[in-house]
């Protein structure tokens, strides 16, 4: 108890001046870093100091257009960084390239130089693709500044959903540089390529920035959009050079080559100078050793943020979910924005806010008017928000690459910067934080895409066939194109005449294909408090069921709104401002049925298989959780349509007889399976180097008769959608752990996961076995309740028994 008391008292010490004996010197970031490392020694499990690095430079190229030289000199650029020079030379040599350098290392010049040079000398046109509209606007502003400095007269325009109809023609016919995004290219440009004929005929460069965001499903779609783009270019006899830019990932050249279908040069050595960077790995203290419960990452993050802001440091706090952004914002606003007459110092920034609100926040950040911003991955990308000093990660972002990208947000001005990674009680976080050498030494993740995923490929073959008839012998992806075309012909949307397939349907296929997800249109959140109808936010289709059900508390800038009515068909949620002391969290059930198995591996009593599954997800209700105490103060029902998905999965089972022998109590077996699944899910994400939500997890019979879930009492329950079942009353009892590819049709995670089937079980066993807790905790088998001590067995040991059974005779 003494430890807890000390901890509570220290909540209030963050305004203390730092003792002068520390060696941090005058720099406030360095002082804070050393103070934290000293004061909270027991919580810091790892430290890293990346020393400052001087720049490496090269003179401006001799063959660079003199007007461009003048423009650069006018902007104070008298020499290039070495990577900018390397990019210039690759472009001169006509080689596709990918440039991988940190934030603020001047990567935009890598493409702007060759593009502007050829625009000035050969009327060459360029297409820039950014993943978001906000980045496009930043980019155009930057080119315009350079333009003005050298009076270059190069015309750069954005072309996206916000471009007014009467301006579009001017962009098409007069733009030298058109800045757009993959979605617009897919739906607005390629299907209308004849209107862009002049542009395509002179297209010399395609720039794809933030390439690392094009992974998974989105990346697989984008690779196909690029296939279509190159096909249209060939029609106009153009063969543009591709310049891709990426944040650090393990396989930039491989990803670029997959996206492009061509070889690329990789430029990975940054010549830009870098200020020193301090990194602290922070594990919240254990506050209940029996339950293995640690103080929350949220409480630790707010504390570090308070100290940083009080010491005048500009701070960014990353949270894992939009909900957590709102909770953190509320807590920090309660401290720093108590006086409503003063302009706010704390702001939230996340997906779902309206673009105008986001732009306003970006502007305040650049101007230095906001001292602390709380955000999700929305600010991970290169949105220009100026210089920040401290970056706090509330929870491990799930990937090593993502962690470094977020940490890169601090220290842009070549000044010392501090990053603090605060672990949550999730197993992945605890694994990372207890094995700091793993994190500090590991390479970032591979970005995987599967451009030939059948459904995605079919979508784009359809779009491509609309754009230009396919010719016999043409290639598009790795599947047999003629067979795909035959399929579409059979559907009646293509007609083969001679050696060509013509589009014969009254439709516009690109409108039916969304690159980002299977989303079917965003929901808007409408505030009806004052009798009006103000749109206050947008929610994407996939997260709508979990966030804007009737009764939900939906937060915008930490102000709570209650959802009164959800118009599912009209995609609207009507909300009213409210004053409550709780937030809501949805409960979802998943039932799953095995349809077919592709491969299986029997190993003694254990069996592991991979195959196709059909799953139905139901959001059954929600919990009301009180602020600050986080106690559960009630439940509500949710009535929403079930969501179905067909995907591929790997599952692990034990022969019923062996299970009954090892775990005679079915209740205990159930708890064991749920705990094992919890640990296996997280270990699998780590092993596969994917993000945890790329995989779904379920425990059930594989026949959609029953599934298991943790009930309100902290125990495993056997359920059907109709209600709770008695485990002992079931017939043959053969539970399975499912880890499935969380995307319809799958994007290729299940096959490598099956290959790693033993490593996953082995890793889960290690994770649980090495955990300090007594009965099980959120860091190994998932949260358990205080009363679990009286179960007569511990969930932890039950989980270990299950894993042993699954592990069988592994050498």
């Amino acid at each position: 108890m003494a430890r807890i008391g000390a901890d509570l008292n220290s909540e209030f010490d963050d305004r203390a001046d730092f003792p002068g004996t520390l060696t941090g010197g005058e720099d406030p970031v360095r002082r804070l870093a050393e103070w934290l490392a000293h004061k909270y020694k027991s919580r810091i499990t790892g430290q890293l100091l990346v020393p400052a690095r001087p720049g490496r430079y090269a003179p401006l190229p001799d063959d660079l257009d003199p007007r461009l030289k003048t423009a650069l000199t006018g902007r104070g650029i008298a020499q290039l960084y070495s990577h900018q020079q390397a990019a210039w030379e690759a472009a001169r040599a006509g080689r596709h390239m990918v440039v991988v350098t940190p934030t603020a290392s001047g990567k935009t010049l890598c493409y702007n130089l060759p593009v502007l040079h050829d625009a000035l000398n050969h009327q060459a046109k360029a297409l820039y693709l950014f993943p978001t509209k906000a980045l496009s606007q930043d980019q155009v502003a930057e080119i315009l500044e350079l333009n003005a400095a050298g009076e270059l007269g190069v015309r750069a325009y954005t072309f996206d959903g916000d471009t007014p109809g009467d301006a579009r023609k001017a962009v098409r016919t007069r733009g030298d540089i058109v800045v757009s995004n993959p979605d617009m290219l897919h739906q607005g440009i390629l299907p209308h390529h004849t209107k862009w004929a002049q542009f395509f005929e002179n297209l010399r460069y395609v720039v794809i920035d933030e390439m690392h965001t094009y992974r998974g499903v989105f990346g697989s779609h984008v690779a196909n959009v690029i296939r279509r783009l190159r096909r249209i270019c060939r029609f106009y006899n153009a063969d543009p050079l591709f310049i891709l830019c990426s944040a650090t990932i393990a396989n930039p050249a491989e990803l670029a080559e997959q996206l492009l279908g061509e070889q690329v040069v990789a430029i990975t050595e940054s010549g830009a100078p870098q200020g020193e960077k301090h990194l602290l790995l922070w594990n919240p203290p254990v506050i209940n050793p029996d339950l293995g419960i640690r103080a929350s990452a949220r409480s630790q993050s707010t504390r570090v943020a308070r100290m940083a802001v009080r010491n005048g440091l500009k701070t960014i706090v990353f949270a894992q979910t939009r909900l957590m952004v709102e909770v953190l914002t509320k807590y920090l606003k309660d401290v720093f924005d108590k006086d409503p007459r003063k302009p706010p110092r704390v702001a939230a920034y996340r997906g779902g806010y309206l673009p105008t609100e986001r732009r306003a926040t970006e502007k305040k950040l650049r101007a230095g008017n906001i001292h602390c911003v709380i955000t999700t991955s929305a600010l991970e990308l290169g949105v220009d928000i100026g210089a920040l000093d401290v970056c706090i990660l509330t929870g491990y972002p799930g990937t090593i690459a993502g962690t470094w990208q977020r940490l890169g947000r601090a220290g842009r001005r070549q000044r010392p910067a501090l990053g603090v990674l605060v672990a949550s009680s999730q197993p992945l976080d605890q694994y990372i934080i207890r094995n700091p050498e793993f994190f500090l030494g590991a390479s970032p993740e591979h970005a995987r895409i599967d451009p030939d995923q059948l459904l995605i490929l079919l979508d784009h073959v359809r779009c491509a066939a609309f754009e230009l008839p396919f010719q016999q012998g043409e290639r598009f992806g790795k599947e047999n194109l003629e067979e795909l075309l035959g399929y579409l012909e059979e559907e009646g949307i293509l007609h083969k005449e001679g050696a060509r397939w013509h589009w014969t349907a009254d439709s516009y296929p690109a409108n039916a294909v969304s690159l980002r997800s299977v989303a079917e249109g965003n929901f808007v959140v409408v505030d009806i408090t004052d009798g009006g109808q103000n749109i206050v936010a947008e929610v994407d289709f996939s997260s709508a069921p979990m966030t804007i059900y009737e009764g939900a508390i939906y937060m915008v800038q930490a102000s709570p709104y209650q959802v009164e009515r959800l118009d599912w068909v009209g995609r609207k949620a009507f909300v009213r401002r409210t004053r409550v002391d709780y937030y809501t969290d949805a409960i979802d059930y998943t039932k799953l049925k095995i349809l077919d198995d592709f491969e299986r591996d029997r190993d003694g009593q254990a069996e592991c298989a991979r195959g196709e599954v059909h799953l139905v997800r139901r959001i059954a209700g929600y919990k009301k959780i009180r602020y600050y105490t986080h106690e559960n103060i009630g439940y509500g029902n949710i009535n929403l349509p079930d969501q179905e998905m067909h995907t591929t999965s790997v599952w692990w089972q034990v022969a019923p007889e062996a299970l009954a022998e090892a775990l005679p109590s079915r209740q205990e077996a159930l708890d064991g399976f749920l705990g094992a699944a919890y640990a296996m899910h997280h270990v699998a994400a780590l092993t596969m180097m994917c993000e945890p939500h790329d995989l779904g997890r379920a425990v059930g019979d594989g026949d959609a008769t029953w599934f298991a879930t943790v009930g309100a009492n902290g125990r495993g329950q056997l359920r059907s959608f109709e209600g709770e079942l008695n485990p002992e009353a079931q017939g043959r009892f053969r539970p399975a752990v499912f880890l499935y590819d969380n995307y319809p049709g799958g994007v290729g995670i299940s096959a490598p996961l099956f290959d790693q089937r033993r490593a996953v079980v082995h890793g889960a066993r290690e994770l649980i076995g090495a955990c300090d807790c007594l009965y099980g905790c959120p860091a190994c088998v998932g949260p358990i309740l205080a009363s679990d001590e009286v179960r007569g067995y511990s969930p932890k040991s039950a989980s270990l028994k299950v894993l042993e059974l699954l592990h069988a005779n592994v050498p």
Partner: protein
């Protein structure tokens, strides 16, 4: 599993409908598709019983079926001549030969015009939409000649566009209905894809949808071509194939050789061209005498004014004063005011003021204050205006003026 069954299963579950049901595969590795299965696949899901569907016609036979001739492989030309004395509905086509007709924006001679309308594979736009029937009309001597170019195979597209384009030689302009947004951009796209010179955009273009909307959007339930031809030409189609069925008619021909509905599509397009031709003089007459056609007189008058013929607009409003609504009357009064014909302007304002038209009341208040300097009358009108800072100031000023005190700040009584 075959590609097809893989796709079908996936698409079923992801909520998209598969092409056709596949018999469930036996567990384990399904066998490669049987020959019958492959044949069935080749035949396609839309196949109807063979007995009901006539055999695919030979090209010459198809041309005959459509009343045309085979121009080139994949292109059938249907030509018809209509003698100009003929009537189209209740409208005499002879007007086409009576010299130029006027619109606010242009004066055009129907004899030099190309009337153009297309039937397409859809309304979505973009490069996947094909023009399969291109209908053109122009006056030759005493006839209106209609030429329809029908695409019977994709391979004929370049020839079709070239042949139709050549027939434009010597024309002075083009007339369409919604061609600015639809037919012309589509032809530009088709020419670009086929690698053919786009002669269609080269001609000056009058799109009759805009004059029609101007005159009738406030009068008719819609401004579709069929509405215009019924109302203005008294032409009522019998057994017309709805335009929305045109794509499907052509698709069943292309896929299965089913030419049954093609003559109806051609007939539909033929009527479109005839109506288009007749509407050119008819709509001009509407702009000359909108009252006679129950058109929106104010909108037409404004169009004349906007295009520089203010006198004509003014004259129209004067002539139709009896049928103008309040907005039209206010516009007429404004024109009178500009010409300082105060008595005429006041007549209108007073009539409207009786109906509590507040803008008219304000006009009268201003008129009496600034022109007649009759402050008492001005105040009577101003008193009727609704409260508000602007009107309050006017009332205050007028009270002072009408009671003989100079305008300005209220004198402080106590001083």
């Amino acid at each position: 599993m075959s590609l097809k069954s893989r796709l079908n299963t996936l698409r079923q579950q992801s909520g998209t409908a598969p092409a056709s049901p596949t018999p469930p595969a036996a567990s384990g590795q399904p066998p490669a598709p049987s020959f019958a299965e492959r044949v069935r696949r080749l035949q396609g899901p839309f196949e109807r019983p063979a007995a009901k569907r006539p055999a695919r016609m030979a090209p010459e036979e198809l041309a005959l079926h459509l009343g045309g001739e085979l121009l080139a492989p994949g292109v059938i030309l249907i030509e018809r001549r209509v003698e100009l004395p003929a009537a189209h509905g209740g409208y005499a086509l002879s007007t086409l030969a009576q010299g130029p007709v006027a619109y606010p924006e242009a004066e055009v001679d129907p004899a030099g015009m190309i009337f153009l309308d297309t039937e397409t594979t859809g309304l979505a736009g973009g490069s996947g939409t094909t023009v399969f029937l291109l209908g053109l009309g122009r006056v030759e001597g005493r006839d209106l000649v209609i030429r329809q170019y029908f695409l019977s195979a994709f391979s004929g597209e370049a020839t079709l566009l070239d042949a139709a384009g050549e027939w434009l030689n010597g024309a002075e302009g083009m007339v369409t209905y919604n061609g600015k947004r639809f037919d012309l951009p589509l032809l530009t796209t088709r020419c670009r894809l086929a690698g053919v010179r786009d002669r269609f955009v080269e001609l000056p273009h009058l799109d009759l949808l805009y004059p029609t909307r101007r005159a009738f959007s406030s009068r008719w339930e819609d401004c579709r071509l069929v509405t215009a031809e019924q109302r203005l030409l008294r032409f009522f189609r019998e057994n017309d194939l709805p335009g929305s069925e045109a794509p499907e008619s052509w698709f069943s021909f292309i896929h299965f050789g089913d030419a049954a509905r093609l003559p109806a599509v051609a007939k539909h397009n033929y009527w479109d061209i005839l109506s288009l031709a007749a509407l050119l003089p008819a709509l001009s007459a509407v702009h000359d005498e909108p009252g006679a056609w129950e058109a929106d007189i104010l909108a037409v008058a404004r169009a004349h004014q906007r295009e520089g013929d203010e006198a004509k607009g003014f004259a129209l409003l004067r002539r139709h004063r009896a049928v103008l609504d309040a907005e039209g009357l206010m516009e007429l009064a404004a024109l009178y005011r500009r010409g300082e014909e105060w008595s005429q302007a006041c007549l209108i304002w007073e009539m409207l003021a009786e109906r509590d038209h507040m803008e008219a009341v304000e006009r009268l208040a201003k008129y009496h204050e600034h022109v007649r300097r009759d402050f008492a009358s001005a105040l009577r009108y101003a008193e009727r205006l609704p409260p508000g800072p602007h009107h309050d100031r006017r009332r205050e000023r007028l009270r002072e003026r009408s009671s003989g005190r100079p305008a300005g700040r209220t004198p402080e009584r106590n001083l």
